[in-house]
Each structure stands twice: as C-alpha cells, then as structure tokens.
C-alpha cells in the first residue's frame, strides 16, 4: 500500500531518536574503559536493569510480529507471547544465578570458566555470532515495516536508517548507554501500549470501523447457495450485456477456484468457496499484479493516489456482532474478549499465481471466521497442523513451543545483561522486574492484536505493520508516538545484539582463541570495527527478508540459540562429568543441525528458494524438538568418552 507521511509523526519520531542518541553520547562519555564498554562496570541498579531486560526482550518481534500475527490469525500469535514469557522461567530458576556467580563478561567466558579451552571459546563465539545475526534479521525487517507507513519510504530505506543509526550508537558509546536507552524505551513501550489498549476498549467494536474517518470497503460475499453454476452467480451479480464472468481453469489457475469478472472494462477476480455443508459462496477479492516490466496493477487500475489510479483497500473488521448490532460502545476487559468470541470476523487469505507472460498476481480473499475460532489455536497456516490428524503438524507445533521455552536463556544479548548488576540478589530482582514488565506487555498484545484485527486499517500485504496502523486508525499523534517508540525499540535491540557479537569477536575469537595480544584501547577499537561489519551484514539480510513475519524469524533464532547453547549451559552448571570436548562438540552439533534443519524445511523451500514446499527433506519446519535433545545427547556421549583418566579436574 502507498502511505502519506505525516509531518507531526516525522517530528515526534525525529525528536525521540535525537533524545536517544543524545543520551547515548552523554552516557558513553562516562564509560571509557573496556569493562565499562562491555558490561557497564557492574554498577547498574537492579530496577533499571530489570526494565532494560524488558527493553531488550520486547523487540520489534514482540511488538510488531505478535500484534501482526494476532491481527491476521487470532490466538496463534498469542501463543508466541506465552512461549516467549515462559522462557524467562528457565532463565530465572535454572541459569541466572549460577551464571552470575561465575562472574564472566560474555557467554563464551562463562562456558569456558571451568576449562580454559580454546575449542569452547571458538564454538561459543561462533554460536554467539550466528544467533545474534539470526536475531538481527527480524529486527531489521521490523525497522522497514515501521518506516514505510511513517515516512512513506520503501522498506530498504528503513533498514538502512536503523542500521546506520545503530552502528553510530555502538561505535560512539557502549553498554551503559544501551542499558539506559533500553530502560527508557522499555518503560515508554509499556506505558503507551497501555494507552493504546485503553483507547481500543473505549472505542469498542463496530461492523463498520471508521479508519481515519474513512468508511471501510465492504467486500461482497454472495451465498450461501446450493449451486455453484456460473449462470446463478451471473444473475446474483446482475451482469449487463457487455460484462462477462468466466471460470478460470487454465494453467496456474486450475486448482484455485476463481471466476474472472470483466465489468466496465475492469477486471476483477472472485473466489468460490465451499462450506462443509456443501453450500457455496462467491467472494469479491482484491489483487496486486506485478508485471514483468515492473509496473503494478491494483484491482485492474494502476497503483497510485491520482485520478484513475487506485490502491489496495485497508481491511480487518467484524462482519457480525452478537444480536446483529452495528456497534457496541465502550467495553470492559473481559467483555471485549467475550464479544469477539460471539462475533463473526473477516480474516484474509492469499493466493499467488504466476501467469505465462511473467506477471505475478497476488490475490487477497476474505475468509469469514467465527470468533470462537479466532480465539482458539490453529488458524495460522503454520499452526493448522494441530487441527489435523497428521503427526508432523503436531510435532512442528511442539517443536516451536519447546524452542521458545528454551531459547530465552540461550540468547547472548539477554545473558550479557546479567553481568551489569553487581550481585546475585540484584540479578534476581532484575529478572523479577523483567518478567513482570514483559508479562504485562504480553497480555496487552492480545488486545492490541485483536484491536488491529477489527480496526479496518490493516495492510493486507504486510502483517508486520498491524500495530502502527492500528495506532494510526485511532489518531495521528498516537501513531507518531508508537512508531517512534517501536523504532527506538529496534535501535536498542539491534545495538545490544551488535555489542554481544563484537564482544564475541574481540574476547573469544581474537583474544582467547587466536591469542592476539591487545591492550584495552585496541580491543575497544576492534570491537567497534566488528560492530560495523555485523551491522552491515544485518542491513543486507534485513532487506532480503522483507516479506517474512518478523515473529516467525525470531522463532528460528530461538531454535538455533536453544539447540546450540542450552545443552552446554545446563550441563556445565548441573553435571559434574561435563568435559570441554563435550561442550565444544555439543555447541557445534546443536548449531549446525538446527541451521541445516531450517534450511531444508518446507518454509525455507517456499520462502527463500521459491521451491515446492512439499518436496522439502525434513518432515516439519521447526527444528527444536530434534536438535535440542540432540545437543544434550551429544554432550553426554562425548563427555563420557573423554573422561579424564585421573581425577585431576575436580573443581
């Protein structure tokens, strides 16, 4: 869709970014030593650190991805919220304190504290880099999704902007600034999400939501009828002599059940659907046609805002409220959810059709769905497996929920924040504050997501923009503030990740593995060079992965993190027979197996290589269920095989 930038939004946005950068420079000037750069001298207050945990964690994925997934598929998006939060329990109860007691700077240092092994350093450093880069992709994609409706720029400009600003922050300042920036932005995100939720509840639900003052386009759905004869639809559509309605059954259309309507020389496509009761429906759709020469046709006209041009309609509404009311007025918290459960809503699906002349059509069609289904699991195509009898779909879901549970404690940029408070008691309190803040926010995501679903403001082409567009449908000022906060969210998360990666390069790869002698000054300088390199890689990947839901990408990052790092961390802390060979081999096995699994999965076949997903080699897409146990098993077997002959390594 085409977006008109709003001056106020741009001004507020610019103001917040300027304040963030100013704070970074000012605080950065105070932290000159290497210890200050990486871990803020261990002197951050636990409450600030706790909210900063939330700031780190509530990334673009949490805000944009979850809201977007709920807005398009209902409850399935909320499953991510639940899984992400549950991961904190592993972090707090199992990993946090023993790790803090070891008192190391980076993840690799912690893993290696017992053995002083170069192999572990290398394995941990590479896994930190891989996980950070995987986690950076969704952040950058999220940045693009924010900038498009805000400034009207294309996706890649947003990615470039975030990349450049973050590299600037990281190179000029360091961890101190990012902890306070994360604190600030974690607080703002929670406060304004609360405001947004209150406004959603006050607005209530309506079958004709006023999006920015404009009425919603009501897509026609004909039927139900017992006959799908073309003559029947022709009479329902009241066609003139010059109009035509023909079934499309050639080439790529053959399996899709579309009718082509030509009326007043304008071509549109109508989708025939059959209900389980053998009743037929005919739905008006909207489409985007990308021609081989690059021109874009929307619903038969050129895409644009001028005379004779058109754009995709914003979507997302309730089609039937309980008691056939038109609107509900303000609603309470449980009332909002129970009203949606008793309503019927319009969700959207899409079909992609490649024509022989090289044009690619994406057709978006409405799917009337009961509130009962919207508020229960299994609507998302990737979760639909739990509603079938096939075991692979169910295992895929189990695998994802396991990876979310195990992933949090294994993320390098979360771990590094344990070192920024001075003792175990503070680390504990930080985590509790973090869990409280994050849990509260995740409850809000359900209301924001459902608010977006019924706002009439969704961009049918991009799930990631749901939250900003929801804010825009309520008011320009709110849109401005929310976008600015979300943008600084991305800034903060990306800078945290880049610092974790540069730490891995300097400490673990160069200083410990390659044994390069460096003084403090040159270490910080190399860390900065590493930051620039990682930042550039993130920019490139962020542009490439534009069309993935950011949340889904985060799921992958969690799988890789959990598979590579969790077995090593847990066994090191709780199994006295763990050896350095066991840790090294387990990290590599977990990392390589989970990456390979992802690259051979149906989702990669479809999304990355453009191949037929049914030919994928692995039976389900999420690796965690196989690769996390594999990591543990490898560690145990290798450790048992490499037990020292004498009892020399008694701690």
């Amino acid at each position: 869709m085409i977006y008109e930038p709003s001056l106020m939004a741009v001004l507020i946005f610019g103001g917040i970014v300027a304040i963030t950068l100013g704070l970074s420079f000012w605080l950065g000037a105070k932290a000159k030593s290497a210890k200050g750069y990486f871990a803020a001298g261990g002197g951050i207050h636990w409450f600030v650190n706790g909210v900063a945990f939330a700031g780190d964690y509530l990334s673009a994925a949490s805000f944009l991805g979850i809201c977007g997934m709920i807005a398009f598929y209902g409850y399935d998006g909320f499953l991510y919220s639940i899984g992400y939060l549950a991961g904190w329990i592993v972090a707090l109860f199992v990993i946090a304190e023993p790790l803090k007691r070891m008192g190391r700077f980076t993840f690799a240092d912690a893993l290696d504290s017992k053995f002083q092994s170069r192999g572990i350093k290398l394995a941990a450093a590479i896994s930190t880099l891989v996980v950070s880069i995987f986690y950076l992709i969704p952040q950058m994609v999220g940045a693009g999704a924010l900038i498009t409706p805000l400034l009207g720029f294309p996706h890649y400009v947003g990615v470039l902007m975030v990349g450049t600003i973050v590299i600037l922050i990281v190179v000029t300042a360091g961890m101190v600034s990012t902890t306070y920036v994360q604190f600030l932005k974690g607080s703002l995100l929670v406060i304004f999400s609360t405001v947004l939720t209150v406004l959603i509840l006050q607005r209530g639900l309506s079958t004709d939501p006023a999006n920015d003052g404009k009425p919603t386009h009501q897509f026609q759905i004909l039927g139900p009828t017992a006959s799908d004869k073309i003559e029947h639809w022709k009479s329902e559509l009241k066609l003139n002599e010059n109009d035509s309605l023909i079934p499309l059954d050639q080439g790529a259309w053959a399996t899709k059940d579309y009718l082509q309507l030509t009326r007043d020389d304008k071509v549109s496509y109508w989708k025939v659907t059959e209900s389980p009761e053998q009743q037929y429906y005919l739905s008006e759709t909207q489409y985007k046609q990308k021609n081989k020469n690059g021109s874009i046709i929307i619903n038969g006209l050129t895409q644009g805002t001028g005379e004779g041009e058109t754009d995709l309609y914003p979507v997302g509404r309730i089609s039937k409220l309980p008691g056939d009311e038109a609107e509900t007025g303000p609603l309470g918290v449980t009332e909002f959810l129970s009203t949606i459960r008793e309503s019927e809503l319009i969700l959207w699906g899409s079909d992609t059709i490649k024509e022989k002349d090289g044009a690619v059509l994406t057709i978006y069609f409405p799917k009337p769905t009961t509130g009962e289904k919207v508020l229960s699991p299994g609507n998302h195509p990737k979760f639909a497996g739990i509603r079938s009898d096939k075991i692979w779909g169910k295992l895929n879901f189990l695998s994802l929920m396991l990876a979310l549970f195990c992933g949090t404690a294994s993320l390098p940029h979360i771990l590094i924040r344990y070192y920024t408070v001075k003792d175990q008691a503070s680390a504990r309190k930080s985590t509790i504050v973090g869990i409280g803040t994050i849990g509260y926010f995740y409850i809000l995501t359900l209301f924001m997501g459902l608010g977006a679903m019924t706002s009439g403001a969704l961009d049918v082409t991009n799930t990631n923009m749901a939250a900003p567009l929801l804010a825009k449908s309520i008011g320009d000022w709110l849109f401005a503030v929310i976008s600015a906060i979300a943008f600084t969210t991305v800034l903060g998360t990306v800078s945290g990740l880049i610092i974790a990666s540069s730490g891995a390069v300097v400490h673990d790869l160069m200083s410990s593995f390659m044994k390069i002698e460096m003084n403090d000054f040159s270490k910080v300088r190399i860390a900065k060079i590493a930051s620039v390199v990682v930042g550039v890689i993130a920019i490139i990947l962020g542009i490439l992965f534009e069309n993935f839901n950011v949340n889904y990408l985060v799921g992958w990052a969690f799988s890789v993190a959990a598979s590579a790092n969790l077995p090593a961390l847990v066994m090191l802390l709780f199994w006295s027979k763990t050896t350095k060979q066991g840790i090294t081999v387990a990290i590599f096995t977990g990392m390589v197996s989970s990456l390979t699994w992802i690259l051979l999965s149906a989702d990669s076949y479809k999304g990355i290589y453009g191949l037929d997903p049914t030919t994928a080699i692995v039976p389900f897409s999420q690796p965690g269920l196989v690769t996390i146990p594999l990591g543990f098993l490898t560690l145990i077997v290798v450790s048992l095989l490499t037990q020292p002959k004498s009892k020399e390594i008694k701690s």
């Binding site: 207050h45 003792d423 985590t431």
Partner: protein, 101 residues
C-alpha cells in the same frame, strides 16, 4: 583494574554455599511447577485443540484463561522465589543493595 577477559570478574559479595544450594533447589522446584503448567498447556493445544474453545467463565474460553494464567503464574512464581531467597541472604547484602547506585 582494567578487568578484561583474563580471570573472573568477581562479584562484590558472595552468598555462602548453604544459601546457594538452598536457592538452587528452590529454583529447580519452582521450575518443575511451571514446567508442568506449561507442558499441560502445550499438550492440550497440540492434541486436543477443540478443548481450548470451551468457555470457562465470563464468556472467556480455556485458551484465553489458561494463557493468562501462565503469564500471571510466571510472575507469581518469580515473586515467591525472590521473596524466599531474600530471607536467606545475609544482612550484608541488603545493606550493599541500598548503596548500589
């Protein structure tokens, strides 16, 4: 001290070993409680998704109620943990915390 990557960055105070093992055991117990709750949720979703549509109270279905319960339970368990551990920590630590900024 520059305190880079050679040698540990010793925390300013160490809890005694008895406190540490008590906290570890408490942590693992609470972890098991949550694991059971989360595991129940995931298995119900996987093998019996239709049950999640059942209305529990106030027009809310099991999916919503169980989901919110998991989020609130995480916070409550964290508070229990923090509270119990605090009782075990020596008085030195709490004094230092006040001055930690």
């Amino acid at each position: 001290m520059a305190g880079f990557d050679h040698g540990p960055n010793e925390p300013e105070d160490q809890e005694n070993s008895e406190t540490i093992s008590r906290n570890t055991r408490l942590g693992l117990k609470l972890f098991m409680v949550y694991l059971a709750l989360y595991g129940g949720f995931v298995f119900l979703n996987t093998f019996s998704p239709a049950k999640m549509e059942v209305v529990v109270f106030a027009g809310l279905n099991l999916a919503i109620v169980y989901g919110f319960t998991l989020i609130i339970a995480a916070f409550v368990l964290a508070l229990i943990y923090g509270w119990s551990c605090r009782n075990d920590v020596s008085s030195d630590t709490s004094k230092n915390e006040g001055a930690s900024q």
